[in-house]
Structures are given as structure tokens and as C-alpha cells.
Symmetry: C2
Subunit: 307 residues, 2 copies
């Protein structure tokens, strides 16, 4: 069985969309990644930190999905990372109302012994120095190190970020971040620049407009499934990353063709995640629902022109 090491936030989110509002609910990049990856036959572990206020119910949910939490540090007397945001009417943009780092401010990741040989490492969005520390703790070079990041680190820790990017195999960022990182408006040119910075593969996430996979001079595109209603986009990108990395860990195949499949699986799972608030839709997602929607992805994109 494949082994997936997940590093990222485990958090509380409070979300407001045009459709409603939540109190503090379960959130965090590693949470979404773990839930999505649990759709595949993979042993996974989350390296993260929470406070003493983090409910046992949430811990139980994650362990019930075969996610090893032995390196999820619980800080005595500490408070869990908290993010509060409000989406605009078109759901394509949002305002951050509150960010409380809390225990995340002093996070020192410790990779569990039995995951130091993980075949895939998924580094969720965190300070580049935390991501680098995890890479250095691995006993053997993983088949794939995948890194997600965001514009905040480009603004505030660019050199450290570039250092980590040199060490990884796949970078996943959104279109605006690809432009910011390279100064190129054309995503094709941005991709070409990024592939010279270290990674063999690049995934550019375009939200409702799908995702692009770049490798050498090849490019593959997966659309987002057109949905009747997007309810809450929170965690869609992390769910994508979880489906993408979980599939790759389970299949142990790093060919371009298999990465294409991983992008489709990631997009497929992200299409569920946005249907309900937070992690709600992913918590009880059944494999037959997932497979049914994969069929829709085929219908959506496959054609028959003879060449």
C-alpha cells in the first residue's frame, strides 16, 4: 500500500457565503487533503499542530479515515489556528475577516518514524521553512514531493520559498501566483520559467476554470465540472491536492499519463467538496458517488476526432 505524508494546517474555519454562515467548524489544508486522499488505498499521516481546544470528535473523524495522527501535536493550553472569511456574491473572491495563528506560530513539524519512507509527500500551504524541515527529515528520497504554496509566502519569504521549490518534484499554485512568481502573464511562459526552478511538473489551478498540468513541453488540462450551484469553495484547492497526491501515492506511478489521471481525480473530488460547507461533503463521500462523477468527467471532455 502507498504511503502518503501530509503536512499542513489542521484548523477551525468560520465561513460566510451568500448561502449561509457557519460557527467554528473543522478546516485546514491538511484536513481537506487527508479526507480527499482517504478515497484511495493509501496509508496516510498528518504532521500538524492543534490546541487543547480541538475536539476529540474531529480527531476521531480523521483516524476513522485511516489517517495516522501520531505526529499531530496537541499543545497543552494552546489554541488551534483559526481562519474566518466571507465570500463575495460570485464566490470567486473572499475577504479574510480573522486569522489567528495561535499554536501554528511555533510549529515544529516532526515526521513520524514509520512515514520517513513515504512514497509521496504532500506539503500543504505553510511557511517554506516548515516545508523544508519536513523534506530534510525524510530517510529516503520520496518518489514525489508535492508542494502547495500561496502569494503570502512570495511576498514575505520569497528566497526561502525558492529554496524549497528547488527540492520538490511538483508545484501546485493558482494562476495569479504563477504570474507573481515569474513576472510572466502568459501561463505557458510562466510554466516554462517555473519548470526551470526545480520541479519536473507544475499544476496551475484556475478554480472554476479548471487546472493545467505542465511537464517539459507537454500540457494537459482538466476542467472543473460545471455545477448547478457552488455552495462553499473553502478547501477546494486542498481537496484537489488531496485527490491528486492520494491517487499518486496509491498507484505508485509517476508517468505523465498517470499524473493526468491524478489531475482528473483531484478535480473530481474538488467538485464534491464545494457542494456543502467546509468538510461536510467529504466526510461521508462514498466511492460509488466518486466513480459515477468520474464518468461525467469522461463525457465532459472526451471526443472522437480521427486524426
Amino acid at each position: 500500500m502507498g504511503k502518503l505524508l501530509i503536512v499542513g494546517t489542521v484548523a477551525f474555519d468560520a465561513i460566510e457565503t451568500p448561502f449561509g454562515k457557519t460557527d467554528k467548524i473543522l478546516g485546514g489544508a491538511a484536513t481537506f487533503i487527508g479526507l480527499a486522499a482517504s478515497q484511495f488505498d493509501v496509508d496516510s499521516a498528518i504532521v500538524s499542530v492543534v490546541g487543547e481546544d480541538f475536539p476529540e470528535e474531529y480527531l476521531n473523524l480523521l483516524t476513522s479515515k485511516n489517517i495516522d495522527l501520531s505526529s499531530l501535536e496537541i499543545v497543552k493550553g494552546g489554541k488551534t489556528f483559526f481562519w474566518e472569511g466571507k465570500y463575495h456574491n460570485d464566490l470567486n473572491s473572499r475577504d479574510t475577516i480573522t486569522t489567528e495563528l495561535n499554536v501554528l506560530a511555533d510549529f515544529n513539524p516532526v515526521v513520524p518514524e514509520n512515514f520517513k519512507d513515504a512514497n509521496v509527500v504532500m506539503l500543504g500551504n505553510l511557511h517554506p521553512s516548515v516545508q523544508m524541515s519536513v523534506i530534510k527529515q525524510m530517510d529516503k528520497k520520496p518518489d514525489l514531493i508535492i508542494l502547495d504554496t500561496m502569494n503570502f509566502w512570495m511576498d514575505n519569504a520569497l528566497e526561502e520559498l525558492k529554496g524549497v521549490i528547488k527540492e520538490i518534484d511538483i508545484l501546485t499554485i493558482n494562476d495569479e501566483e504563477a504570474r507573481q512568481l515569474t513576472g510572466e502573464y502568459s501561463l505557458v511562459k510562466a510554466a516554462s520559467t517555473i519548470l526551470k526552478m526545480g520541479p519536473k511538473y507544475l499544476v496551475i489551478k484556475k478554480g472554476e476554470h479548471g487546472a493545467l498540468l505542465f511537464h517539459d513541453d507537454k500540457v494537459f488540462f482538466a476542467p472543473a465540472l460545471p455545477l448547478e450551484e457552488v455552495f462553499d469553495p473553502t478547501g477546494a484547492g486542498d481537496t484537489f491536492a488531496g485527490g491528486f497526491s492520494g491517487y499518486l501515492a496509491a498507484t505508485k506511478n509517476t508517468s505523465f499519463n498517470n499524473l493526468k489521471n491524478a489531475v482528473i481525480h483531484g478535480s473530481n473530488l474538488a467538485s464534491f467538496s464545494v457542494e456543502k460547507f467546509g468538510t461536510e461533503r467529504m466526510e461521508n463521500l462514498q466511492r460509488d458517488e466518486v466513480n459515477k462523477r468520474l464518468h461525467q468527467f469522461k463525457t465532459l471532455t472526451q471526443f472522437d476526432i480521427e486524426l
Copy 2:
């Protein structure tokens, strides 16, 4: 051989993009549609109007592409429709500097006798009453009537537009126009509403984000080819329409699967159109270049997940 009847503007454009600026050059919806459709084995005719200032060189270009111009009215002493526009830096939006209707103000379309039995009619963006007049002149019901329109007619001639939409088989509009026409933000919901207004098929064009084809409860998506550089987006939508309608006229097959192919052919040709100013790239486009890029579309979108 298939017969394609094209109705739309033949015009002068003056274009400014971040990459340069043109004087008055050849433009117009029918021009781009005709040039794109000429990539297929199809007899086509343009119904339109120009002024006496329209250069013979442009007429010769169109007739050299097997486009019948016997119903292109040349108004003695009249001036050709003129549009001047300037694109913003991201090329996704533009300002109209000048619109001179000129001879278009009194345009009375006359369908040539030998095209009254055309199997496909492509109604480019024009006043809905002009589009309706063409439909009424057809001797027999065409296999497909395709209509392109824009927000201007939704603002200024909505009831007439709805009347034409009732009579057609395929509507092609962009995402914002689909939202305006239906009051639905979700494109899936907008499509469902539009398919109840008359058309059997709907194409929603999303520019650099591709195009969606809707039919009953089915949906197909074609991405735009990721390009190193978009030089001038003018005419991309019309080139798409020309490739789409030209392929359908040539293949005489109105199945959903063949419409998928038509969307791919349209997207493929549009990817060339934006590489140079105005019609320049389309004027000398070779079929082997077109086929080569179709291969890229396959690589871009096709995957192999066993279900």
C-alpha cells in the same frame, strides 16, 4: 458538398493591443466566419453589405476561399461599417473607441437563390430583425440554424431577440451574456433555462477559458489551447463560430458527438486567429498546421482512466 450560409458584418477594424496598432484593416463577423469555414469542404456564401470604399483586394481574398459574394451588397457612395477598439493589458477586456454603422444602418439581407437550401445557416451577431429576415427567406428548413448574438441586443431588442432564439437550433453566446439573458449566475442553470427558450443546443463561449456545449442534460467542454502569447483576440469568437458551423456543414451530422467535434474544431481555429492582427493568421492558414494543432488538443484533454 455541404452548403453554409453566413450572415454577418463585413467591416473595417482598427485595433490597438499592448503589442501594436493597426490602421483600418479587414474585419467583421462574417469575414472571420467565412475564413474559418473555408478550412472545410464546404460551399459558403456571405450575405452582408459594404460601402464603395471596400477594397477589391479584400473581395478577391474572400472569393479565393470559395466564398460566394453574390449577395454581398456594395452600396454606391456608401461607407463600410467601421469599428475601432483598444485592448487592455490582459487582453481580456477592451474599450470601443469608435463604431460607425455606415451602410449597415439600412442593411436588408437578401439570401442568394442557390443558398436557400443551405444545410447550415450561421447567423453572425447583427440586429435580431436582420437575422429573422434571413431565416424567413430559406426555402426549406436547414439542418441547423446557428445564432450568435451579444448583450447589446439583450439591452436594446430583447423581445425580437427572443423571437429569433425560438426559431434556431443552436445559440452561441458568452458566459456573461448567458447570465444576462437568464438572470442565472450558474452557467448550468442558465443553460437549462436557455434550452427551454427554443434551441436544442447551446454553446457558452468563455474566451481563454474555453467553451461549453449543452444539450438536454449533457455537457461537453473544450478548453482554449494554452498559448505562449495572445496577440489580438479580435475575431476569436467569430472564428470559433466559423470553424464550428463550417465543420457541421461539411459533415452533415447533427449528433451530439459530432457537435463535440465541431466545438473542438472551432476552438482549434480560434487558437490560430489570435496569433496575429485581425484576419492575417487565417488568410494563409494551411490544413496541415490545423491538423497538427488538433493533435495538441487531443494531448491536452484526453486521458485514460479505466472505469
